[in-house]
Amino acid sequence: MSTLEQGIQKQIADWLRSGEIELFIGYEAGTVPLQATPAFIRRPEDVGRLIWDATCENNLAVFLPRYKGKKVGIMVKGCDARAVVGLIQERQAVREDLRIVGVSCPGVVDPKKVAERLGVAVEDIEEAKVEGSQVLVDGQSLPLEEVIYDLCQACDRHNPIIFDVHLGEEIPEDPERDPFAHVREIEALSPEERWERFRQEVERCNLCYACRNACPLCYCNICFVDRTMPRWVYQTTRPEDVQFFQIMRTFHLAGRCVGCGACTRACPQGVNLRLFLDKLRKDTLELFGYDAGVDPEAKPPLTTYREDDYNDFIMG
């Protein structure tokens, strides 16, 4: 057990004992290698289950809306912290009720990449663990930075921006990094090429809704895909219906998506949803000067307006 894990466990035990929180949402070892699973700790004697390493990929903020009104502790990485801010802004979580343990994250392991490096299927990895900056698997040692998710390799938010306790070392950010380089690449294409890019990307989608379920900001009581009167989304294999779903789910996050990448990591088909959501984040920043998940007091951009807002797109 690392000293960081010891620190986390002690902090949570203290909070549970003092009654400061009644529940802590963290990570514990999962049943499959390289994927930790969310842990819901209610008793101080259970804190020994808590872990922290590069297998802790879930964004735990997704659980916060259902515990609204309770005193809850939560563990957040840099990206997750922004989602917590988003939920506070949208009144899905109350800052005073939260105890946030922030950890700086160097990136989380993509089991598919590890399997690829070993030349096996993901299911065939039997034993693996992360030690420091190495992933030890089947007698081999892989550098962590090479097998983390693509979006983690492009990360610009290693350090949480909201927390009560920050444990472990901070990770320096690269101020030169362009967080929207992948969006600019697509913007430069022709409409035909852009459509082809979108069509091919969402062609793999089989409407499992894992993206929706993993997204912390997708908390609607009745999602538009589940509505039957009127019915918007037809659960068919018709490409247009799948495209429609992807356009509308992503657009519902316009001005709200914090870019945590939970959807992209959750997608079993490897659809790069970030390619589309980041366009919305980029435009929100360009048009309204708004970066989601930064200021808990800020009003989300689509719930407010300015008289001198961008008007050039309206027919003259």
Binding site: E240, K279, D283, L302, Y305, N311, F313, M315
Partner: protein, 156 residues
């Protein structure tokens, strides 16, 4: 844009227009009572306010086979509900850019402000949208009815 020979000879653009009850719909009415000619390609849906137009309506219209969509409301500052069009403007600014980013051609989805006294302007707007979409041809992307546009014998 598709080449001219791919556009079926008898094809006419289908434009769906969401018009706000207080300004643009009244503007359309004025165009009618003033006997101003405008293209019959437009199908009008009256809505209480441009702020009532959920982006899903626009995308659904395309999915269902509209070749173009127009949303028109009161000029900024003139909204019957004071600010509905301001909220709408933010949403549509993002939506229009987003649809273009995904590959829906620029010109398919347009927005305008037309007041109740601007019958002539309404006719101009509808003419412009219709002509823009006519140049683009039938919508082949996102449109569930696009398959029926392909000629018999071709894979659809």
């Amino acid at each position: 844009m598709m080449s001219a020979q791919e556009i079926p000879p008898d094809w006419e653009p289908k434009i769906l227009a969401f018009l706000c009850n207080w300004c643009s719909y009244a503007g359309a009415d004025l165009a009618g009572t003033s006997r101003i000619q405008y293209p019959p390609n437009v199908r009008i849906i009256r809505v209480p306010c441009s702020g009532r137009v959920n982006p899903i309506f626009i995308v659904e219209a395309l999915r269902q086979g509209a070749d173009g969509v127009l949303v028109s409301g009161c000029h900024p500052g003139d909204c019957h509900y004071l600010a509905g069009n301001y909220y709408a403007r933010r949403r549509f600014a993002l939506l229009q850019r987003y649809l273009e980013y995904l590959g829906i051609e620029p010109g398919r989805v347009q927005f305008s402000w037309v007041s109740a006294s601007e019958g002539g302007r309404f006719a101009e707007v509808v003419t412009k949208v219709t002509e823009d979409v006519r140049k683009l041809g039938p919508l082949r992307r996102l449109n569930i009815k696009a398959a029926s546009l392909t000629q018999e014998g071709e894979a659809g």
